[in-house]
């Protein structure tokens, strides 16, 4: 008490905040958002981190559709979206293989236009123009891509999910001291699993 602020400063300097390095938690965090915190025995944080990342991810898909994730046409966005991990890779694979087809004229893989249908020529999926009868029947490509702001906001939502997952991953890889753990050390009766 007599030395006051000086003692507090010295105490803080002699006990810097301890940060661990947990490669296993980091590896598991890469495989699924929030899973790294389960390895760290912080289940509450794991559930909420996962809910945040996957909430942003699925919200983006909900408003923008499967076209939100496109490693071919939106490559730069995809790099940030890929930080979510396997969910982005799986969604992109489904998009490329189940919803895109080749343009007969250019030979390029692309999303369908409103008056086209996806067909197969025996070797690869192709876009075929719809007949008037098929258009009148309400036929079209397998997905309707988002346009303008909706597409931008949907892609941004999945990008935010990726960047948030990067923070979650780093926290799992290099976890700081847990408030509850330190409280439990001082007062065994308080706190719970975080």
């Amino acid at each position: 008490m007599s030395c006051g602020i000086q003692c507090h400063t010295l105490n803080t300097m002699s006990n810097p905040q301890h940060i661990d390095f947990n490669p296993l938690a980091g590896l598991v965090a890469v495989l699924f958002p929030g899973a790294g915190h389960l390895v760290l025995r912080r289940p509450k944080r794991a559930i909420f981190a996962s809910a945040g990342v996957l909430g942003l991810f699925f919200f983006g898909l909900l408003i923008g559709g499967i076209d939100t994730i496109d490693s071919k046409d939106d490559r730069i966005w995809f790099y940030a979206q890929a930080l979510v991990g396997p969910p982005t890779i799986i969604a992109d694979q489904i998009h490329q293989k189940q919803f895109k087809a080749y343009d007969i004229g250019t030979g390029k893989l692309r999303t369908g236009f409103p008056e086209e249908k996806r067909d197969h020529d025996g070797t690869r999926p192709i876009w075929v123009p719809l007949t008037d009868v098929e258009i009148a029947a309400g036929m079209g490509p397998p997905n309707i891509p988002g346009l303008g702001r909706i597409n931008e906001i949907a892609m941004l939502s999945v990008v935010l999910a990726g960047m948030l997952n990067l923070i979650v991953f780093l926290d799992a890889l290099m976890p700081g001291p847990d408030a509850t753990t330190s409280k439990q050390t001082n007062k065994p009766s308080t706190g719970g699993a975080e």
Partner: protein, 82 residues
Amino acid sequence: MTLAYTPFIDAMSVHDYWYLLIVPMAFFLAVGYKAVRCPDMKKYPQSVLSFTVQILGLMLLLAIAFTIVIGYVLPMLAPMPV
């Protein structure tokens, strides 16, 4: 394949309400961020709510600032010829 709306496959038609989409985005961001940055999980709900309001408030201020700059300041600095 018919053109009926399929969730998670087709884009939603919410072009008239695009500005409201920031609310769930800010909320999910706060849920995930505070899960790893909230020191005490007992205060987690309050910190999520507080962070969500902070994001929305700052975005609103940015929107107001950009509206003033683009709608009033720029026309004064560089008026368009009539």
